[in-house]
């Protein structure tokens, strides 16, 4: 194996790596906020909100990410909107991942025994106060490990940008491969870049899982 070509293509790899990080961070922020809103909708005391939240989560959890990205990349332009690969890919990541985050948050909140909410309400707290002061602080501990895990998935899934010319690591790896024909080496370098991001996240998930389980 000969990795000497990597030097002359380091600019491509680094540009792709930068865009992968960029898409992951945007996706992370967007899906976290959207996921929280959806989780609150799913446990809200109003039926209509619950129905919308549930429909969203079930729909996007059960279709492929590629399909969500295609809706933005091919579907919207066919109606006249103009989105490039990076924007469609990142929006797709947000929409798709938010469904999983919503599910993790909902499960966490509902794992707090119902008696807690009843006790808080009967001491005179409003629903929102009880949620904020009693339920959420307990739920956060249960919710953190699955959410870190979703972020790990999001980083890996960001490679979907490569399919829609989103200028990420996967896209540039394909590019370098088509110039050098050193396929094995090119994908190994790309893999190393992904592992730089994912291994620390996987480790953090493990540590958090153990730590929060012990104190909880």
């Amino acid at each position: 194996m000969d990795f000497s070509f990597v030097g002359s293509y380091s600019g491509d790899f680094l540009e792709g790596f930068k865009n992968t990080i960029y898409a992951s961070l945007l996706g992370l922020a967007g899906s976290f906020v959207l996921g929280l809103v959806l989780a609150v909708m799913r446990i809200a005391p109003w039926k209509a909100l619950r129905a919308i939240g549930t429909a969203y989560v079930e729909f996007f959890r059960n279709i492929p990410l590629l399909l969500v990205v295609y809706i933005f990349y091919l579907g919207l332009p066919s109606l006249g909107a103009d989105l490039d690969g990076f924007a469609s890919g990142t929006l797709g990541l947000m929409i798709y991942t938010s469904a999983f985050i919503a599910e993790a948050v909902r499960a966490g909140i509902q794992s707090v025994p119902a008696g807690q909410m009843e006790a808080a309400r009967s001491t005179g707290l409003s629903y929102v106060q009880a949620m904020r002061l009693v339920i959420l602080p307990q739920a956060v501990r249960i919710v953190i490990p699955p959410i870190t895990n979703q972020f790990l998935n999001l980083v890996k899934n960001s490679s979907i940008l490569g399919v829609v010319a989103g200028f990420d690591l996967m896209y540039f790896a394909d590019n370098v491969n088509s110039y050098t024909f050193q396929t094995m080496e090119t994908y190994m370098v790309a893999a190393a870049f992904y592992l730089i991001l994912t291994v620390p996240l996987a480790y953090a998930t493990n540590v958090l899982e153990r730590k929060l389980a012990r104190t909880g």
Binding site: N62, P64, L66, V163, D174, A191, Y194, T198
Partner: protein, 240 residues
């Protein structure tokens, strides 16, 4: 948007054929990744010296890479070392490696969740380690693995769509061809694809929920089911 044109009988038949390929690839990969995942999970659970560490390294590397990269690698890099696979088998092998690594983690943690006291009791009643695994740990652990396994299989079915990058003639590939003819077909075809994926995956998730609640009911009913003594913590939590 042109629903009538997009859903002409020729197009519908073509798309359904694509979905047939999606289901076949998924089914083959589910069986193979389950076998691979169980084997790797057992190796890691039984802590065989050397082999366990090696398995851990390989599994963790694969688990932390994008599946897309693994698909490219299997299809385009492996031929450089003499392993040439057809598109179908490249997709199946890549899916099996990736999902197998995921499943091995589910199997390992499922087995490790079985109460240590139960294992000790089995060993001290004279069962060998292999017997303990077969008669005590596996039956209890396997039942707990069902919900995460089903969600992994749902992921696998969705992930088959990534094989579009190596032109496997599955649903997304067929969709690309159909709306390649006419841009007004894009939305109708994507919608149909979403409905097909959703129908299968949602049914699977309902099935998993049913299995889970049956399991929960059995555990909560005193004296019913073999699973009960194994899960005192779960029972206590469920009743709290």
């Amino acid at each position: 948007m042109d629903f009538a044109g997009a859903f002409s009988s020729d197009n519908l038949l073509f798309l359904l054929k694509g979905f047939g390929m999606t289901l076949i690839v998924a089914a083959v990969a589910i069986v193979l990744s389950f076998i691979l995942g169980t084997a790797l999970g057992l190796i890691r659970y039984s802590r065989i010296k050397g082999l366990g560490t090696l398995t851990m390294l390989v599994v963790e590397t694969i688990r932390n890479l994008p599946l897309l990269l693994i698909i490219f690698f299997v299809k385009f890099a492996l031929p450089e070392v003499g392993i040439q696979l057809s598109t179908f088998w490249a997709a199946v092998v890549a899916l099996t490696l990736f999902e197998g690594a995921m499943i091995s983690e589910i199997v390992r943690s499922g087995l490790q969740s079985v109460n240590k006291g139960l294992v000790e009791a089995a060993r001290s009643s004279g069962l060998t380690q292999a017997q303990t695994l077969r008669h005590v740990v596996l039956p209890i652990g396997m039942r707990r693995m069902v919900p995460p396994l089903v969600s992994q299989f749902i992921s696998l079915l969705k992930d088959t769509s990534l094989a579009v990058v190596i032109s496997l003639p599955e649903l997304m590939h067929s969709a690309n061809i159909v709306y390649g003819h006419d841009v007004s077909y894009v939305f109708p075809v994507l919608l149909l694809a979403a409905v097909l994926y959703f129908a299968v995956n949602y049914s699977l998730s309902l099935l998993s929920k049913r299995l889970e609640s049956n399991e929960g009911a059995r555990r909560r009913t005193p004296g019913a089911g073999k699973g009960k003594p194994a899960a005192p913590a779960a029972t206590a939590k469920a009743q709290a």
